[in-house]
């Protein structure tokens, strides 16, 4: 690296090195900024733009309005402020994406490690993964939601029920990619000298996995997790879009789009705002994933 000077360059933390490579990726930085803005809008927006409770008569007067100073995004057919609804919906959409991703990554990493590390489990677990990969996901999710929505809603309340059902359903049907990636990595890591050394001094399997293997598969898992968020958000909005997602008083961006579809000829902006929000979120998450993949790969880093 440094041919001219014999001085050892200042040691760089791993995070610093990753960040430096990440910064070079223009799309990834753009994605980070856009996602940050969207998250800020959704999380801190309601602090600056509190919901104004209108009486029924007032709401009737202001229904179906276009953008104005009072309602920057206009109002819907019930006189509700679209800006407030966009914020509330975004919070749910992002939450669904993240929680579903966490479930999927948790299951996927677990199965991947078990399959990669324990030879006896490899066959059955990978067969299981293949089986899940050949399930028709969207139809299955639709059926799941249709069959279990009412029961779960009556047990846990419509909001929490819908949230848990959809998050769980998406998470449990999207862990396969992560499992495959993790298994491949573990298979390679298992034969490395330090793992053999740890095994030979009698470290139990649990500790080998937690101390030596898990930290080394963080990078591919992080990339898979990032892309998983995008996929989960799209899946959720597809369900909501088909009318089998969240209830209308607890909307997500997909649900807002579905609601706006009836008024598309008169008020196309009601479809455009949520759709734009979904697309921007997914686009920026995908770009972040792309940048992370480059930044976390030591073969590309430092080039």
């Amino acid at each position: 690296m440094n041919e001219q000077s014999t001085a050892i360059p200042k040691a760089q933390s791993q995070f610093g090195a990753v960040w430096q490579q990440f910064r070079v990726h223009r799309g990834a930085v753009f994605g980070l900024i856009v996602l940050g803005l969207l998250a800020g809008f959704v999380i801190f927006g309601p602090l600056f733009w509190p919901e104004v409770k209108l009486k029924v008569v007032e709401a009737l007067k202001v229904k179906n309005q276009g953008p104005s100073l009072r309602f920057p995004f206009g109002t819907d057919q019930l006189g509700r402020d679209m800006m407030v609804r966009m914020m509330a919906a975004g919070k749910v959409s992002l939450a669904v994406g993240f929680v579903a991703m966490i479930i999927a990554i948790f299951v996927g990493t677990g199965i991947g490690i078990l399959a990669g590390y324990f030879k006896r489990l490899d066959g059955p677990l990978m067969r299981l993964t293949d089986l899940f990969l050949s399930l028709p996901l969207i139809p299955l999710l639709l059926v799941l939601v249709m069959l279990f929505r009412d029961t779960i809603a009556s047990g846990l309340g419509p909001e929490l029920g819908a949230f848990l059902l959809i998050v769980f359903a998406i998470g449990i049907t999207s862990w396969m990619q992560a499992a495959r990636i993790v298994r491949g990595e573990v298979l390679a890591l298992k034969e490395r000298e330090y793992v053999l050394a740890a095994k030979s001094i009698g470290v139990p399997a649990r500790r080998v996995i937690l101390r030596h293997i898990l930290p080394n598969i963080i990078s591919p898992v992080m990339v898979a997790a990032t892309l998983g968020v995008a996929e989960a958000i799209i899946t959720e909005s597809v369900l909501s879009f088909l009318g089998l997602g969240f209830p209308p008083d607890f909307p997500t961006w997909g649900r807002l789009l579905f609601d706006g579809l009836q008024y598309i000829q008169l008020y196309p902006e009601r479809v455009i705002w949520p759709g734009l929000a979904i697309s921007l979120t997914v686009l920026s998450v995908n770009y972040i994933g792309d940048g992370l993949r480059d930044a976390l790969d030591p073969r590309i880093r430092g080039r």
Binding site: L131, P136, L147, I264, V271, S279, L283
Partner: protein, 335 residues
Amino acid sequence: MLTFTLRRLLLALPTLLFISLIIFLLVDLAPGSPMSEIPLTVPPEVRQKMIEALGADQPVFVRYILWLRQFFWVEPANLIDGCFGSNLAGDEQRILSWQSRAPVFTVIGQRIPQTLTVIGTAYLLGIAIAMPIGIYSAYRQYSFFDQMGTLVAMIGFSVPTFFSGTLFIIIFAVWLHWFPTKYDTTLLVTDWPSFVLQLKQMAMPVMVLALANAAAISRYMRSSMLENMGQDYVRTARAKGMTERVVVLKHVLRNSLIPVVTVIALGIPSIFGGAIITENLFGVNGIGAALIGAIHANDLPMVQTLAFIFAVLIVVFNLIADVLYGLLDPRIRYE
């Protein structure tokens, strides 16, 4: 190759059985089964008879086997009867839709042509768009065209079809009045004007799906081309004095197509799944719309059958992709 194909076929069977079991159990064990929806005014002994008549008092596995028998024996037998006028199926009970009381497969048979016209055209168009873009992007890597291609593909990945579809409706149907917003299934193509009408109503759904597919396929095409561009045989071909045209379109393209063909085969079932959205948005009366309609109407046999057909499609095309890969690439030997 043949033994490999046979082995894969044998392996596909347990997969299909497992998936059918999942689908069957999911629908069967779910709360809100049809048995609970018999009105309370029906006397208990009549209710008991109704349940017996429907076979719902049998154990789960008996019902599962019976369902399988209907699916794999009675329905194909009916199909053969329909084709050759034989009488294999006899008077066996077919899978009936609760919505229309018609056999499920009759309904699906009516719906499939719509799906195939729209989705099939869209997929072919998507491939036709993606190929040249992928090839040229790889040939001029990091050029302006390549950068734009990457950006557009990224946007194509990220914008969900239901949003690009609604945007198309707003722009082309609401503002420009070029195309109708809804697809008219009853339109018969008999002469030139009706053909133009058919093209017009197909334009938007086909465009939406084609663009979404083109985004993915063009990226695969590009990376596959790039992998081959640096190979020794390409340098040899150039050294022999072949024209660039021959080098790129004959030597590189043919080898690069191998993985892309498998990707295309693997994508076909997900096209059917993704078409659920497009069909609903544009009102194409295909099998995706049938699924949603059945779900909203609680038509469980229809839902089970359609979900299982989607699963069969996935398994079959996985198999086809594997076999194709072995056939096309002489380096791959499964034996």
